[in-house]
Amino acid sequence: MHRFANPSRFLRLSAAILPWSTAACVCLLVVGLYFALVASPPDYQQSETVRIMYVHVPAAWMAMGTYAFLALASATGLIWKHPLADLTAKAAAPIGASFTFIALATGALWGQPTWGTWWVWDARLTSVLILLFLYLGYMALWNAFDDETRAARAAAILALVGIVNLPIIKFSVEWWNTLHQPASVLRIGGPTIDPSMLLPLLLMAGAFLFYFVTILLLRIRLELAGRKLRTVQFNRARASLRGTT
């Protein structure tokens, strides 16, 4: 675990991973978009609007996955006082918030033609909206303290408290009688979705996953670079101060 706490080792490792994850993201996105927009059949009920699914579902999966990842990184930071884990959680939050927003926005666009309404106060939609607020609260808490370690600890505890929302999102379509359809891919008894639609969906999910990895690594590197810059500026200011006195 602490092998990866060393920033310079992380920088080396991430520099080695970044080109591969970027390439994987671009390849999967191109192939996935071809299958999603051209090679897959329209739905017999929803016709062409079903193609919104290839963005909506991966974004929703990633919104939840990112939160689980963020909570895991927070727990690591809290338990082992792992500074890089705190930074990882901080870097993941805006990406997760964006995924959540995309899932909500595409859901609204999809809901208008199929359900006849942009928004319903149903358990799935409401719990995802709560997820967005949790992300925003998490990010706001990071910015509320001058002391970085204090901010990291507080934000980590909030992330762990907020994890109660994840099972609610996942099972909301089974516990409540919702307008949102129940799970059709990750369910006991195998997917009920047709293979011709499952393939582009999984390709797009892979593209989203590698997009997340790429952006996450870039954001952590940016954060580390920012800290290095602050240290350099601080030292320079102190040196110039010493010069004058």
Binding site: G137, A140, L141, A144, R150, R153, A154, I157
Partner: protein, 233 residues
């Protein structure tokens, strides 16, 4: 000395009582906070019929939900002072040093918060329910949901209050952190009245609210205590 005190107060009942009494005394002497929450609850509720019109059918339809939203906001009002004032004058450092487990101290402070906000709100809610034209047979149910729900609000709120100790603009931030977590309590609290009217009965909602209270009772003071320890590091 310390073991002697332990023997006289093995379960920390007296220490718990001391923290509780201290917070209640502070709430009474400083005035403001305690009465303010109830006053906000009453005034906020009274404003709504003035805003949307005094139509009885409409008010009785939205009354329960309205009382719940107001209770949520009123509970938030004094929450940011729960630990912040103790942190500012330094007494929090001393409270943490006491032999009473910090989570129990948090529970004592939460109890005090509920006694000066949640409980009075529950007590005045039947009067407000009459003003809102809620049918007489549902008034008891509304008060019961508030009785079950407001302690949960105070408990969840203590986590947020502990997390924002020493934060910039802690009060606004606290609202952002806590309101999403309040939503399940609101849904079941307000929903129980709808369920009772619609037919299936409020029992499952009330059981769910009790479950949330029982889950929050050990977990929230624990999380809040962890947050407070980090705040004082």
């Amino acid at each position: 000395m310390r073991t002697g005190r332990r023997r006289r107060d093995p379960l920390g009942v007296r220490a718990f009582g001391t923290v509780l009494a201290r917070d209640l005394r502070l709430a009474r002497r400083q005035g403001g906070d305690a009465g303010l929450a109830v006053l906000f609850f009453i005034l906020g509720t009274v404003l709504v019929p003035l805003g949307i019109g005094p139509e009885g059918a409409l008010l009785s339809r939205i009354g329960a939900g309205l009382l719940w939203v107001m209770a949520l906001l009123a509970a938030l009002l004094s929450l940011d002072r729960l630990f912040q004032s103790d942190w500012e004058d330094g007494s929090l450092d001393l409270i943490v040093l006491s032999p009473l487990p910090l989570s129990m101290t948090v529970l004592a402070k939460v109890t005090a918060h509920w006694l000066v906000t949640g409980l009075p709100m529950t007590l005045v809610s039947p009067v407000l329910a009459v003003l809102l034209n809620i049918p007489p047979d549902q008034i008891g149910l509304v008060a019961l949901t508030l009785l079950l729900g407001t302690p949960t609000l105070s408990l969840i709120g203590s986590v947020g209050a502990a997390l924002t100790v020493g934060a910039r603009r802690g009060g606004v931030l606290l609202t952002l952190l806590i309101l999403p977590l309040y939503i399940p309590v609101l849904i079941f609290g307000a929903g129980s009245v709808d369920a009772a009217v619609a037919g299936p009965g409020a029992k499952s909602h009330l059981l769910m609210m009790t479950a949330m209270l029982l889950a929050a009772l050990p977990l929230c003071p624990w999380a809040a205590a962890a947050a407070l320890r980090h705040a004082l590091d």
